[in-house]
C-alpha cells in the first residue's frame, strides 16, 4: 500500500508542511522580537495542523495499524518526501523569510488547484488551508519587500538569502512519478504548469524589493525522492526524539 501513488503523493504534501513547520518551530522563544516570534510560530502551527490532516488520511490509506504519529515521526530520512527548500536552516531572519516566501508562492498555487481535486479529502484539506497560506504569503512577501528595500545591511542579507535558496526552487516543479500519476487522474495539479507563473510572480516581488533575481542556472534536486541535504538528519533527530525515546507516547 505504501508504494501506492496516492499515498506517496500525500506524503509529499504533508512532509513539506511538516519540515517547514519544524523549522519555524525552532524559532519559538528565539524570534528576533516578540511580535515576529509569535508570527513565525503561528505559521508553524498552521502548517503542523495541515500535516495532521494529511497524515491522518495517509494512515487510513495505509491501514494495518498505521498512525499519523508513526508516519510523521518514525520514518527514515530517505523516506521523507519534502522538497530541499523547506529543510534549509534558519541561518538568519533573511533566510527564514526568503525560504517562506519562495515556498508560499508555490504552496498557494498548489492548494488553489488541489481544492478542485477529484479526491474529496484532499480537496477539503486544500480549501481549509488556502486562507492560512494566503496569509503566510502576505506576511513573507511583506517582509522580503521590507528587508530588500530597507537599509543597506538588510538588503545585503535578504539578497544573500535569495541567492542561497534559489538553487532549490527548480525542484518544486520537477514532478515525481506519484505527482505525474496523480495529475493524470485529476487528483493533483500538473505542477510543471506553474513554473512560468511562479518565476514571474517571484521576479516581480524581488524587483519591487530592490533585489537582484539570481541568474544561476545551477539547481539542486532530490528531496522529493528522499535524497536530502546534510541539514535534514539534524532536523529529524530533533523532530523524532520524543517518539523514538518514548515510543507511542501521546500528548
Amino acid at each position: 500500500m505504501t508504494d501506492n501513488n496516492l499515498y506517496q503523493y500525500i506524503l509529499g504534501l504533508a512532509d513539506n508542511s511538516l519540515v517547514l513547520g519544524q523549522r519555524l518551530g525552532e524559532l519559538c522563544g528565539h524570534g528576533p522580537n516578540l511580535e515576529t516570534d509569535i508570527a513565525c510560530t503561528n505559521i508553524s502551527l498552521d502548517l503542523i495542523g495541515q500535516t495532521r490532516s494529511y497524515y491522518q488520511y495517509a494512515a487510513k490509506l495505509a491501514g494495518e495499524g498505521a498512525t499519523e504519529d508513526g508516519i510523521a515521526f518514525l520514518r527514515l530520512e530517505r523516506e521523507y518526501r519534502n522538497v530541499l527548500l523547506v529543510e534549509q536552516p534558519n541561518r538568519h531572519f533573511g533566510f527564514i523569510l526568503g525560504r517562506q516566501f519562495l515556498f508560499d508562492v508555490y504552496h498557494l498555487m498548489v492548494l488553489n488547484e488541489l481544492q478542485n481535486s477529484s479526491d474529496e479529502t484532499l480537496a477539503a484539506i486544500a480549501k481549509k488551508s488556502i486562507k492560512e497560506v494566503s496569509y503566510h504569503k502576505r506576511f513573507s512577501a511583506d517582509w522580503v519587500r521590507r528587508l530588500g528595500d530597507g537599509t543597506e545591511e538588510s538588503n545585503e542579507k535578504m539578497q544573500e538569502a535569495i541567492d542561497g535558496l534559489w538553487r532549490y526552487t527548480d525542484e518544486l516543479f520537477k514532478p515525481t512519478d506519484a505527482e505525474m500519476a496523480m495529475a493524470l487522474e485529476g487528483v493533483g495539479p500538473d505542477i510543471t504548469q506553474f513554473k512560468e507563473a511562479y518565476y514571474k510572480e517571484v521576479t516581480a516581488l524581488l524587483e519591487e524589493a530592490n533585489l537582484t533575481v539570481p541568474e544561476s542556472k545551477y539547481f539542486t534536486h532530490g528531496g522529493k525522492i528522499g535524497v536530502h541535504t546534510e541539514h535534514m538528519g539534524y532536523l529529524l533527530s530533533e523532530l523524532q526524539y520524543m517518539q523514538r525515546t518514548y515510543p507511542d507516547m501521546k500528548w
Partner: protein, 94 residues
C-alpha cells in the same frame, strides 16, 4: 534597529455590532506591520473581526498628577446621576 520601532496601541472589535476595545500594545515599524503583528499577537484565538492600530504617540493622555483637579470635583456631585427622579414604572431600561 528594532529598538527604534515605535509603540502602537491595538483595538479589537470582537463581534460585529460591538465597539472596538483596547487590547494592548506592541512594537512595529509602520502601520501595516502593526496590523499584521496585532493579528498574530491578539487575534489568533479567534478574538476579533476587526482591528484598529494607532501609534501610541498620537494619543494624548491625561496626566496622573492632575487627577485631583481633573476628577475629584466630580466625586461629590451625586446630583449629576439621574437618581433623583421618580420614574414611572412604564419606563424600562434606565
Amino acid at each position: 534597529m528594532e529598538k527604534n520601532w515605535p509603540l502602537w496601541e491595538v483595538f479589537v472589535r470582537s463581534k460585529n455590532g460591538l465597539e472596538h476595545r483596547h487590547f494592548g500594545s506592541l512594537h512595529a515599524a509602520d502601520a501595516e506591520m502593526a496590523l499584521e503583528n496585532a493579528r498574530d499577537v491578539y487575534t489568533r484565538r479567534n478574538e476579533g473581526v476587526s482591528i484598529w492600530v494607532v501609534e501610541s504617540s498620537n494619543i494624548t493622555a491625561s496626566n496622573p498628577e492632575h487627577n485631583g483637579e481633573m476628577f475629584e470635583p466630580a466625586q461629590d456631585k451625586v446630583y449629576r446621576h439621574p437618581t433623583f427622579y421618580n420614574l414611572p414604572d412604564e419606563v424600562k431600561h434606565m
